[in-house]
Symmetry: C2
């Protein structure tokens, strides 16, 4: 087909490699996360809790760019596994507070190896990784 619309070629898109790369790397996490009985989305949720110990659903959603439609069932699963508790805030019953349990804290030590093991999967120089990181956050901040 003639090259009438170069913008419509997959190779000229910026979004496509972003989308493909994101999924491929999440896939690389899987064997390590399987050992912890975590999905990638559950893993980044736990990562927020390992940092903050306690957070409500709205704030968590802002951290992760996810909404309650995704987070509600996910947090219920994490509660079932015993890693978080869910309770309403006394001051405002609309707000649901998610809190890390001791079991959830323990999981952190076991998860410590994940970033190390992953680091050898990414074949970028530290400089390239830094550049990529900066550009991605620039996009996230400016346009999203």
């Amino acid at each position: 087909m003639e090259d009438k619309y170069p913008g419509l070629k997959l190779g000229n898109q910026l979004c496509f490699p972003l989308y493909a790369c994101s999924r491929e790397i999440v896939k690389k996490y899987k064997p390590f996360l399987d050992e912890l009985d975590l999905t990638y989305t559950q893993y980044i949720t736990m990562m927020v809790l390992w940092e903050k110990e306690q957070i409500n659903v709205k704030e968590l959603g802002e951290c992760l760019y996810l909404d309650s439609g995704t987070l509600t069932p996910l947090l219920k699963k994490l509660e079932t596994k015993g890693w978080v508790t869910r309770r309403r805030a006394k001051e405002d019953e609309r707000v649901l507070i998610v809190t890390l349990t001791q079991e959830g804290r323990n999981l952190r030590d076991r998860a410590a190896m994940v970033p190390e093991k992953m680091s050898c999967c990414v074949k970028l120089t530290p400089e390239e990784a830094r550049t990529l990181y900066t550009l991605l956050y620039k996009m996230l901040g400016d346009c999203c």
Copy 2:
């Protein structure tokens, strides 16, 4: 919580902004793709067909980094909409050939505005966009 494992902080991850950015940009496509009755995954599938006119499922999956579990139902939907046809190859009945229809070709003209409209959503300089593009393909190629 003490900073025992800096690698476990969301802000130190490269994968997270990739994952978040990818989803945020796909979200930006939505209003434009809605007008064409396409999802993002259907859109990139059509993009391959607009370039190649005809392709089998395996090759399509290699182009898009997707497997038959995702593509089979998606291609059936595109067939229902009348934009592609699906038939087995005579030489090898295992192979399913997807072919663009005239209706599918017509859709291309209506889709031409999508990359233009999207371009103003991405607040990177052309130079930054090029750098990002190169780094993403480097990651895709080297590690995935």
